[in-house]
Symmetry: C2
Subunit: 305 residues, 2 copies
């Protein structure tokens, strides 16, 4: 089958709800290119375009895409082959009421910085010259229809959503629990570059084309409660919660469950072992729920499904 | 000058106080080998040795070492050349009332796991075989005499202390604010291996020899409020606080100050730029204050001193 394109112009959501209607239905194993618009819907094209408050609709996620055969209890595997920026500029902004240092007097909001794309980098202008940042695209918002609650695309949770995790990028794979028939995958909110933490509340927000292969894992050997990320060298449960402490606890518990299942140890031994290898990583601290990963090196954990 | 040895047998502290008395005085530029005992003072040699409660004295830090010429307002540069384990086993434990998942029913405390040293690795025994973890030593507790408050070696704060940061290891350099004459450096609490987060409350605790070169930076171009870590490719402010959110704010503010000074931008532009590169990293989540780093790649920040 040729790679099919699904464009934000065909449909995009601002809320992950349990009862999403698909704009496209594909078979398990389908290769897709997902065309996404920037998280601010094109409202910011120059530094005089500022965002006074977090918009009601933000982080448009192209989709939903139903995957045939996906049933609650299954796992949806989303292999991200490549992410390409498709416009000539990104934008990074402060917004009043948003961001890690929003309450500090030194920080002004709203402010917009435009980051032009040049030769595989974005640039950030300063009085002392241009800073070049290599483009390392990130898919900020990616998820499936949740079990019972609804979440706007500003929020991350067990269904994914606004995970803002730098490793959700080309070459890596993310697995979601399937809560609803067809899974209902949607994604958008890409960045040309982003720091772990996304402290000011954005990366360099930009439109992208995302190549993915989607696959249903029927009857998985472990049931997922939350997203699981696979990189070249680690498996990383991804957990979102009100506080970083809670997110750390959830991500660590998920890692412990995987280690215990693989090595035939109890939770306590898995906990002690988890304290020796890999470890906790910050995805984002601003969305307003926060997101943490717990890396378990592949040397100690094989494919859990 | 030959490399001098300072041993825990000559003196070790369990509290960083403003008025420490040195066990050794060295000149700026001195090359030292610091001999440290394990964080539990040798109390745990087998899996039947368990720790019922966090001891009053824990994380013995060899020292204090006065560095001639160090005055309040200076910076103490501690280059860590090498960390070598000096005993045949590490130990990782759970202790009731301590650790990220202490309140979860599935986790048993106290429990001890011994991790024997074999051929450059430690091993962790499971019913399905031995897991090998390459030795990557970490200096868990390292710091100087604080400004006004005292902190037991269980706690991290602006003076350093129980930072439990995996990158405090051979090849990296850590800088401390000097709060008291002579700085009064002390270190210990090494691990043969540790996950970022140190979730169960320990890594594989072990005795080590630590090769360091200490140097006073007089009249530094920036004044430090907290430790700053230098790795091969990044500068990383290190901040400890009651919550991960607060620690993230402090580490991000420190990074912003460094970026603003280097590039002639205001705090808001530095904040936005900090949200594009490097980012926040978890050191530890258990000590009971928690510790976070904010990595700023050296591509965007030169030596600030």
């Amino acid at each position: 089958m040729p790679r099919r394109t699904v464009s934000h112009e065909d449909g995009a959501i601002y809320e992950f709800t349990p009862d999403l209607e698909p704009i496209e239905t594909v078979e398990s194993g389908a290769e897709l290119t997902i065309d996404t618009r920037d998280s601010l819907d094109g409202a910011v094209q120059s530094e005089s375009d500022v965002i006074d408050a977090v918009p009601d609709e933000v982080n448009a996620a192209t989709g939903p895409i139903a995957v045939e055969g996906a049933e609650p209890g299954d796992v949806l595997r989303v292999e991200i082959e490549d992410v390409r920026v498709t416009e000539d500029r990104g934008r990074a902004v402060t917004i009043d009421g948003f961001g890690l240092l929003d309450e500090y007097d030194e920080i002004e909001a709203p402010r917009t910085r435009i980051t032009p794309v040049e030769d595989g980098s974005i640039t950030f202008d300063t009085p002392e010259g241009e800073l070049e940042v290599p483009i390392e695209p990130v898919v900020g918002t990616i998820g499936v229809a949740p079990a019972e609650e609804s979440y706007t695309t500003l929020f991350p949770h067990d269904h994914g959503g606004n995970l803002d995790t730098t490793e959700v990028t080309g070459g890596n794979t993310i697995y979601f629990p399937v809560f609803q028939e067809g899974a209902m995958l949607a994604m958008g909110d890409s960045k040309a570059a982003m720091a772990d933490g996304e402290m000011c509340g954005t990366g360099a927000e930009i439109a992208t084309d995302i190549d993915v292969t989607v696959e249903v894992i029927d009857d998985p050997a472990v049931e997922l409660e939350r997203p699981l990320l696979e990189t070249d060298d680690a498996w990383k449960p991804v957990a979102s919660a009100d506080t970083l402490e809670e997110a750390c606890q959830l991500a660590n518990r998920d890692a412990i469950d995987l280690l215990a299942a693989e090595h035939g140890v109890d939770e306590t031994d898995a906990y002690i072992f988890s304290s020796l290898v890999g470890g906790l990583e910050i995805s984002q601290v601003v969305d307003p729920l926060v997101t943490v990963k717990n890396a378990v090196p592949k040397a100690y954990l094989s494919d859990p499904f």
